[in-house]
């Protein structure tokens, strides 16, 4: 996107839609206050159901990405979903995932959301308490391993939503709850614990009543999973995400704050000169994080269902990444034997730093979330 194009589009989130049902929600009022920064004092547009905007026919995901709208909605139906057997659960049983949002502020060219959703607009669900009630119900039966940044990047949205802080307040008192929060942002996680003061003397976003003390119980059970890619991949394919160096600094800060940290080399992309670019990249990550305790590592190659890929190719016809002549097995497009070689290459490069038993490779049809 060039700058002359930028001046033509409305700024991202400058249009806010809100469901009638969400109007009465205090969380919606907080979000509207936060969104006023982007909307330039324009009234939100009241709609009956979020699908009236999100689900319209004939939308263009790629064009909307230049200026996504914000939709505030109330979630109904299921709040948590069991992870499939083939999902990357990192050895945890009772694996579930959830999403307080639909869509992501970033735009990775390989992102499956382009194939999954009809719209690039960002939906935020305001009824987090309903999610929490559902988690409580499950916790009464067994421990829960929950990925909360599916289909979005929650940390990237934290300044606007305060959702992660609210979740951590909830999670702090729930012993059996282990959480994974995946991100490509460089959000300074100390701000989750010590929110910055605002001009009016309050804190920015949701209030954390007990401050650091009330959250500290959640920290060792909240895994911050950083998805890492070579800088050339970040700048060419992961539009809007934090540069590699910023992610590495944020990761180090998260570990220092006591969060277990996970490295996700997923998706590895088949790009020209793969061995050199990924080899140098792994070495760079190793030298930057040599003294940082790493919980574990996930490695996966890009893979996507053929129906999503068809949609994504239509949406981004100029993306070299998506035009790759993939192999198709059982409606999943993948790199075939080359993909296995790519994983083996990265695994080998990590040996000597990360013990083999800490390395996980998924068989998931497509990488999920940030």
């Amino acid at each position: 996107m060039n700058s002359s194009k930028n001046t033509f589009y409305n700024p991202p989130f400058s249009r806010v839609y809100i469901e009638e049902e969400a109007l009465a929600s205090p969380a919606a009022a907080d979000l509207l206050r936060a969104a006023a920064k982007y909307s330039g004092g324009q009234q939100p547009i009241v709609i009956r159901r979020y699908m009236d905007v999100f689900g319209r026919a004939h939308q263009s995901f790629a064009v909307q990405k230049n200026s996504p709208a914000l939709i505030l909605a109330v979630k109904h139906g299921s709040f948590l979903y069991p992870g499939a057997d083939v999902c990357q659960s990192f050895g945890n049983s009772h694996f579930y995932y959830t999403s307080f949002a639909m869509n992501c502020p970033f735009h990775c060219e390989y992102c499956y959301l382009q194939g999954m959703y009809p719209s690039a607009n960002l939906v935020l669900f305001v009824n987090l308490d309903d999610y929490f009630a559902e988690i409580e119900r499950l916790l009464a039966q067994h421990p829960v391993y929950l990925c909360i940044s599916y289909d979005t990047d929650l940390l990237a949205l934290e300044r606007m939503t305060g959702f992660v802080r609210r979740y951590l307040e909830f999670a702090a008192g729930r012993e059996g709850l282990v959480t994974e929060l995946r991100t490509k942002s460089a959000f300074p996680v100390r701000q989750l614990i010590f929110p910055p003061a605002t001009a009016d003397g309050g804190s920015d976003g949701a209030v954390c009543p007990g401050g650091a003390a009330s959250l500290s119980a959640a920290i060792p059970r909240t895994i911050l999973a950083y998805t890492l890619s070579p800088e050339s991949v970040v700048s060419r394919y992961e539009h809007g995400t934090a540069p590699l160096s910023a992610r590495l600094s944020a990761l180090r800060a998260a570990a220092q704050a006591g969060f277990p940290v996970r490295l996700c080399f997923d998706p590895l992309l088949r790009i020209p000169d793969f061995d050199r670019i990924y080899g140098e990249f792994i070495d760079e990550v190793h030298s930057a994080l040599d003294d940082v305790p790493i919980l574990d590592v996930g490695i996966g190659v890009f893979r996507i269902s053929d129906s999503y890929l068809k949609q994504m190719r239509k949406s981004l016809p100029g993306s070299a990444l998506l035009q790759y002549p993939f192999e198709n097995t059982g409606h999943v497009c993948h790199y075939g034997a080359r993909g296995e070689k790519m994983i083996a290459f990265v695994k080998q490069r990590l040996s000597g730093w990360i013990p083999e038993e800490k390395i996980y490779t998924p068989q998931l049809p497509e990488g999920r979330g940030a």
Partner: protein, 304 residues
């Protein structure tokens, strides 16, 4: 191509001039005017008539991905504080009869403020207009929460065509190709208060005020639309020759075409090397499909 739909001749006059349009006599059923890269349809009044007209124009002249559609016209405004001649871009279009609402895409910085509109199915008198809300749904609730105190409310407008135009245009375009602009011409028609001549002149004045802002804006937006990248002609010719020399099946031919496109988009110089690798079959074509497929696998192995 810029497609324009307006209900009345008087509403269209400023666009005829600005886009040098002439009557297009090849289109039999409705009044159509064409310019160099634009066409304007007169739908006449009423949502059903408007839907039929728009649908038939778009069927006869199917739009491309890079085209835009503008629906323009005059409307009544229940809020008498909003002056006649004020132009708006529509954020919400509701059909009063069905209750169906459509939210047009608002991706681009528009030259005019936003309004919501309801399409009704009869002429609105000043008396009837009094029963309409002054502002878009939710404006009051929002100001009561105090969250957005100070945000100007979004005006409500009424007309007789927009929901029909919208329903008919939707299947032909992606949402971001559609633009709906309305200019306030009255606060409810009072037939006795204005002569038909004066009314017509007023309508032209109103749309004239927005045409100057709209046309350059839409031209710039249309310049932003991107077309799909394609293989350069040399690569297309090479691909055709290779498909025939290797006796590739349709599926394998598609694999080869995709390989070339991938390499082209990746900025890899491949044609010379590939020509060398296929020198033999390009000279004396493969005798079996199997032989050709082996060459294709070799190319993939080499380049991927």
């Amino acid at each position: 191509m810029l497609y324009i739909a307006a209900a009345l001749y008087e509403e269209a006059i400023p666009f005829f001039d600005a886009l040098s349009m002439k009557k297009n006599t090849s289109f039999a059923h409705f009044d159509l005017f064409s310019g160099e890269d634009s066409m304007l349809l007169l739908t006449k009044t009423g949502a059903i008539r408007a839907a039929a007209a728009v649908s038939s124009m778009l069927t006869a002249f199917p739009p491309q991905k890079t085209d835009l559609f503008l629906s323009v016209g005059t409307v009544a405004c229940p809020d008498s504080e909003i002056p006649v001649g004020t132009p708006f871009i529509l954020q919400q279009i509701t059909d009063a009869a069905s209750g169906r609402t459509f939210c047009p895409e608002l991706l681009f910085r528009a030259p005019f403020p936003r309004a919501a509109l309801t399409t009704v199915h009869r002429v609105l008198t000043a008396e009837m207009l009094k029963s309409f809300p002054l502002h878009a749904p939710g404006s009051d609730i929002m100001s009561n929460t105090g969250v957005l105190a100070g945000c100007p409310p979004v005006p409500m407008l009424c007309d007789m065509e927009t929901s029909g135009v919208c329903e008919a245009a939707l299947p032909f375009f992606s949402c971001e190709q559609l633009f709906f602009c309305r200019v306030v011409s009255d606060h409810g028609i009072d037939a006795q208060a204005m002569s038909p001549e004066r009314l017509r002149a007023l309508v032209t004045e109103c749309t004239g005020r927005c045409a100057d802002g709209l046309i350059p804006w839409l031209k710039e937006i249309s310049g932003l639309r991107e077309t799909s990248p394609a293989l350069p002609p040399g690569a297309v010719a090479f691909c055709e020759a290779a498909v025939s020399a290797l006796r590739l099946s349709a599926a394998n031919a598609e694999q080869l075409r995709r390989l070339l496109l991938y390499l082209h988009l990746s900025g890899v110089a491949y044609l010379e090397e590939m020509s060398t690798l296929l020198e033999k079959p390009l000279h004396s074509p493969c005798r079996t499909k199997k032989e050709g497929q082996a060459y294709l696998e070799q190319l993939k192995e080499h380049f991927l």
